[in-house]
């Protein structure tokens, strides 16, 4: 960082004059939260600041102890904390997700959090904001990642269901964001049947419904009193695809909705028959386009496959560095 007011500490990214952290991995006094995925929004902080959806979902997931004090902030609204001007800007990643804009003594830094550039009707689109330093994620920071069209990917499932009506389709989706976005894509393509959800997906989906996002008819799979799952579509968390719970589905086609499903070796490793390549992260070209549109003086990379991105940016003579922040998982995994 040019003037060292935003630094890396063991808890995470720290703003010295504002005395707060961004997405800390250990409990701290004061934290700004980009979005409510569990690797970015952890429980136990004293004070947190975030969009109302981020804070509501944290409370929904962690219960009362999600923090001691929370403050909700509207996107686009300016807030001053001890001389640092702060703004939350939509990141297009999941409901409530935002980038964090920081301005101190005329120097502007934007922390991207997780983001994508594709259309997603469950959340506000990414906004480009000019800054001196852009701190980006790089989950898919290699040129091998080029996410295909999400409508085309979704139609693969609809086709498979119509061709294999005697099978159950068990599809792994990330519980927050991917699940609901994927359902809206299915509905958009005219899939009107009941969609059955693993219990772990119910709470957040209901929250999306409360927020007026139309998901059509959803039902908890545990309410289904039968052992015949043929011709049913069941969504579950990715980890459940191979756990004991999934053993009840005898004649089953397993799918996984994830940006990693663009890699054949990965699909094979996960024992997936129906890979659906849809991601809530920017792919390689989208990361590059974003950096180009913002054209900051400096790029810092938080987490993901940063070696590739850094090597490319250095070749293009962009000033850049790795922050090597730990604790952020490949959340689609």
């Amino acid at each position: 960082m040019n003037n060292n007011w935003l630094i890396k500490k063991k808890e995470g990214l720290y703003c010295i004059p504002g005395d707060f952290y961004i997405d800390p991995i250990y409990p701290v006094n004061s934290a700004l939260i980009t979005h409510s995925h569990t690797d970015h929004a952890r429980p136990g902080n004293k004070k947190i600041l975030g969009t109302s959806d981020t804070i509501n979902i944290m409370e929904l997931r962690y219960g009362n102890n999600y923090c001691q004090y929370s403050q909700k902030i509207e996107c686009g609204k300016l807030l001053k904390i001890r001389g640092v001007n702060i703004k939350f800007i939509p990141a297009g990643h999941i409901l409530g997700s935002s980038q964090i804009y920081l301005e101190y003594k005329g120097e502007i830094v934007v922390v991207s959090g997780d983001y994508k550039r594709r259309k997603d009707i469950t959340c506000d689109s990414f906004e480009v904001s000019k800054c001196h330093t852009f701190i980006t994620e790089a989950t898919f920071g290699l040129p091998i990642f080029s996410h295909p069209n999400d409508i085309h990917e979704t139609s693969k499932l609809i086709k498979s269901i119509s061709e294999n009506s005697d099978y159950c389709h068990l599809i792994g989706v990330y519980a927050l964001g991917k699940c609901q976005r994927f359902i809206t894509l299915l509905r958009k393509l005219g899939f009107d049947d009941v969609i059955y959800l693993h219990g772990a997906l119910m709470k957040i989906s209901n929250y999306y419904i409360d927020r007026k996002i139309d998901l059509g008819e959803l039902r908890n799979i545990s309410e289904l009193k039968t052992s015949d799952y043929s011709n049913k579509l069941v969504l579950c968390p990715p980890s459940s695809l191979s756990d004991r719970w999934s053993q009840r589905f005898r004649k089953v086609i397993k799918g996984f909705v994830s940006g990693w499903m663009g890699i054949k070796q990965r699909i094979k490793q996960k024992n997936i028959q129906l890979p659906i390549v849809i991601s809530d992260h920017a792919d390689w070209n989208e990361i590059l386009t974003t950096i180009e549109e913002i054209s900051p003086e400096k790029v810092l990379v938080t987490h993901g496959r940063e070696e590739g991105l850094l090597s490319y940016l250095k070749q293009k003579k962009v000033t850049c560095n790795a922050l090597n922040l730990i604790g952020f998982e490949d959340e689609d995994d």
Partner: protein, 523 residues
């Protein structure tokens, strides 16, 4: 190339043999005859272009992308064809190239530069999946789990030829399979093929059941050792060939057994490693199996020997309609004529009674003998498994208690169960450290599998991808056919065909033996 790339994807994602056969069948049905021949040549690993190597592929892609980005990407993906296809700049025009056109075009090139030039132009217009398929074809290893056996099973369902016919005539058509599909659908064999020189399906044995002792007349049978090697067929002809049990051409792996002559003779027997007059274990033989080329060091270290026990052709004349006793005589005389030191007559064992045989079987506890064979003196050489002619009487397996150390998720139907187990024993009498001895994934019932799965999940120590390490507390009795020293295994021993015999839920793990006790089983 779209259909072929889809085929590769489907084969990669479906690990069950049944599914693979169905996928191949549908694929062949969608092709024209001339495409079928090419596809079969590629799928059976008979197609090759000597012009392009993996390194040339790397050079091509590094002209499009920096060395760094290529190597980070390759590290992540782990497969050259896939990395290449994902990195090649995407085409704007969505053209495709037909499988047949592509294969015919590359035939025309005889130097590397012009072929690479053609490939670059082609890649600029097609989808990454097609590029992937092309690189896989050019570099050989498809690695989609299709063996020659699976292809042959699929082809049985494609035409009017049975399993034996396909096995036997396979090598008349490979590597290009010209007119293979016409023949498969009932047309006559092309004239230029000499049937005698081809592979001939083996005669197989039944498992001996002790109830037979009262039913069989012992005087009708001869007895031989059942060697622990691999069954093979040596075809002495103008070229000379060696075939494995299912008709795979293994001549290149065992060149020192290849004999040429202008008269065709075919002998049947067991391939073993024999050094300084001693037959070595199956482990040593494994160093020779599957090699495309054998260097002189391997030839010296693991010299192979053929123990011949039957003859199908002698000097162009068919012996299969002679009885076993006459065939044995013919075989002995042929071996005298051939006069090579690494092929010998598998000796007959003298015996007078069933008791003699029982003793022989139990005493055949030797690391290169699996038991004994009983063969009816007046039986003809019949392909397949004719009833009541040949019996294998294996000695009893070993049963030893081991401790489960790791469990891995299975494939296909078993993909949500931990069904592949690594077991081990104590390194010494302090009962502190375990050493892995082998892997087993069969021998339990479906109910037991569920119990094992539940046990693994609730006794996990650590997870590494699909593998879990578990508490050293579950004892299982493992059955195995043989045991030998091995330098490839950490424990220093290798078991032959280990499988579950029973799960000993109640047995305390410190009653399991230590490694030295197990080594004592080897003689």
């Amino acid at each position: 190339m779209i259909k072929f790339s889809k085929l590769l994807d489907d084969l990669l994602l479906n690990s069950s043999k049944k599914k693979k056969i169905k996928i191949l069948k549908d694929y062949f049905n969608s092709l024209e005859t001339n495409e079928k021949e090419l596809a079969l040549s590629i799928l059976s690993k008979n197609f090759s272009t000597k012009l392009i190597k993996a390194n040339d592929i790397k050079i091509m892609i590094k002209r499009k992308i920096s060395e760094d980005l290529f190597s980070y990407s390759y590290d992540y993906v782990g497969d050259l064809a896939e990395t290449f296809s994902l990195l090649w700049p995407k085409s704007k025009e969505k053209k495709t190239i037909s499988f047949f056109c592509f294969m015919k075009s590359i035939e025309k090139y005889n130097n590397k530069e012009s072929l690479i030039n053609f490939l670059e132009k082609t890649f600029d217009n097609i989808s990454s999946n097609e590029i992937y398929a092309i690189i896989k074809i050019l570099t050989g290893g498809l690695r989609v789990g299709v063996s020659e056996g699976i292809l042959k099973e699929c082809l049985v369902e494609q035409g009017v030829r049975n399993k034996f016919e396909i096995e036997e005539y396979w090598h008349a058509f490979s590597p290009f399979f010209k007119n293979f599909f016409c023949w498969l659908n009932g047309e006559a064999l092309p004239n230029d093929i000499n049937e005698k020189e081809l592979f001939h399906s083996f005669m197989l044995s039944d498992t001996f059941d002790e109830n037979l002792i009262t039913k069989l007349n012992i005087k009708d049978y001869v007895c031989e050792f059942k060697w622990d090697g691999i069954r093979a067929q040596i075809v002495v002809s103008n070229f000379g060939k060696i075939y494995s049990r299912n008709g795979e051409d293994i001549t290149n792996s065992f060149p020192e057994l290849n004999i040429t002559s202008n008269k065709v003779s075919v002998i049947d027997g067991e391939l073993v490693v024999k050094k300084n007059g001693k037959i070595l274990s199956f482990n040593d033989l494994q160093k020779r199996i599957g090699r495309k080329k054998v260097n002189s060091r391997i030839l010296d270290e693991y010299p192979v020997h053929f123990l011949a026990y039957d003859i199908l052709f002698m000097h162009d004349s068919d012996c299969r309609n002679l009885n076993l006793s006459s065939r044995k005589k013919k075989l002995e005389s042929l071996l005298k004529i051939l006069n090579v030191s690494n092929i010998s007559f598998s000796p007959l064992i003298n015996f007078n009674s069933w008791n003699d045989l029982k003793n022989l079987r139990n005493k055949s506890l030797n690391n290169h003998i699996e038991g004994i064979m009983l063969k009816k003196k007046n039986s003809l050489y019949v392909k397949g498994r004719p009833k009541g002619c040949w019996y294998k009487w294996k000695r009893n397996p070993f049963f030893i208690d081991f401790i489960i150390m790791y469990a891995q998720r299975g494939h296909g139907k078993r993909s949500s169960f931990y069904s592949d187990f690594t077991f081990g024993c104590w390194t010494d009498n302090s009962f502190k450290n375990l050493v892995p001895v082998g892997k087993a994934y069969s021998g339990f019932t479906n109910e037991e599998l569920k119990d094992l799965d539940r046990w693994v999940r609730s006794n996990t120590l650590e997870r590494f991808g699909p593998v879990r390490s578990v508490k050293s507390s579950l004892v299982v009795e493992i059955a195995f056919d043989n045991i030998n020293f091995s330098t490839r295994h950490k424990s220093g021993v290798a078991l032959r065909f280990p499988r579950f015999s029973r799960i000993r839920w109640d047995k305390p793990p410190n009653e399991v033996c230590v490694l030295n006790d197990i080594k004592k089983l080897i003689n």
